[in-house]
């Protein structure tokens, strides 16, 4: 009888132990999974916060550069008071002020503009671009030599990336990310080049309008003056459209790589 009781007790104990260990196992697995989820959420929140901070910084910088360029524009508009045209009004709106002219090395004159294709900066270098909130991961991308400084400020390194553990990203993902950054770089190059041409065109427009006034005062034939005026109007229209496009491009590209 005693033996039977002992056997029953042992089997009950075994059941209890099994049940308890199963319960513990489930609790451990669930806790581990929730911890992982928490980490991921924390990282995501951190990323979002970093992005927000960067956006705010970018906005502040934009505002400060805006006020600087506003001052310049004010000075310019005072100079151009006598030459009223639709472009002056457009300049006053300052659609393209987001791009700082110091970001590109182009300085066009009548002489070098003729050879602009030779003078266009096509030099590309490889850099190791870091991404993620803490610059934990990296990919090798091709950037214009003008853009090196901005990348160095962001913590990137010259040359190809050394072998590195990219925090569990798949090769397909890293390839897509590399292509994405290269596309952004091409877009940024084009935007800066277009901006430099726009700046030069605005300068030339101001000069040409002044010349036209002098010609009118010197009693130049009306037909000739009208012909010259027509070229100015065409350039004004094209400049206005380019200005709008640059504004759109800046909205897409500014802060994309940072």
């Amino acid at each position: 009888m005693r033996n039977l009781k002992t056997i029953i007790n042992i089997s009950t104990m075994k059941k209890y132990i099994t049940g308890l260990s199963l319960f513990l196992l489930f609790v451990t697995v669930i806790t581990l999974t929730s911890f992982q989820q928490d980490d991921r959420n924390k990282n995501q929140n951190k990323n979002n916060q970093d992005k927000k901070e960067k956006n705010n910084q970018g906005k502040k910088e934009k505002i400060s550069t805006k006020s600087e360029s506003d001052d310049k524009m004010d000075q310019k508009s005072k100079k151009d008071k006598n030459n009223n045209s639709p472009m002056d009004n457009e300049k006053g709106k300052g659609h393209y002020k987001k791009i700082n002219s110091k970001d590109y090395d182009y300085n066009w004159t009548i002489e070098n503009f003729k050879d602009r294709n030779k003078n266009k900066n096509n030099e590309k270098v490889l850099i190791c671009h870091k991404f993620n909130s803490n610059n934990e991961s990296q990919v090798t991308i091709r950037v214009s030599s003008n853009a090196i400084k901005a990348h160095m400020n962001h913590g990137d390194i010259m040359g190809e990336c050394p072998p590195f553990d990219n925090k569990g990203y798949s090769n397909n993902y890293l390839k897509n990310r590399t292509d994405y950054y290269n596309t952004i770089e091409v877009g940024r190059d084009q935007m800066y080049y277009s901006q430099s041409i726009l700046d030069y065109a605005l300068e030339r427009l101001t000069g040409s309008r002044q010349q036209l006034v002098v010609m009118q005062n010197n009693n130049m034939p009306v037909a000739e003056i009208e012909k010259k005026q027509e070229t100015i109007v065409v350039l004004e229209k094209n400049v206005s459209l380019l200005e709008t496009l640059i504004n759109v491009a800046a909205n897409i590209l500014v802060d994309k790589l940072q």
Partner: protein, 73 residues
């Protein structure tokens, strides 16, 4: 002994299911990011084309302006 075997196999199943779930989540996040990057790249490429075309228009207008004001520069 039987219980132990049963327990071990159950634990393995639970662990494998858990890890495959987290792997799935990572893949899904990557896929979403890849799609976002693709659509942004497309809009950038379209924008670059338009910018290039309009920049060329401005350049050709500038050349005409240069020709028109040639003697006065």
């Amino acid at each position: 002994m039987k219980n132990l075997k049963w327990l071990a196999s159950l634990a393995t199943i639970v662990i494998l299911t858990g890890s495959s779930c987290t792997g799935k989540n990572n893949n899904q996040t990557e896929e979403i990011e890849i799609k976002t990057m693709d659509s942004t790249s497309k809009s950038i490429n379209e924008m670059v084309e338009k910018l290039d075309e309009q920049t060329k228009n401005v350049e050709s207008s500038l050349e005409k302006l240069d020709a028109e004001f040639k003697n006065n520069n």
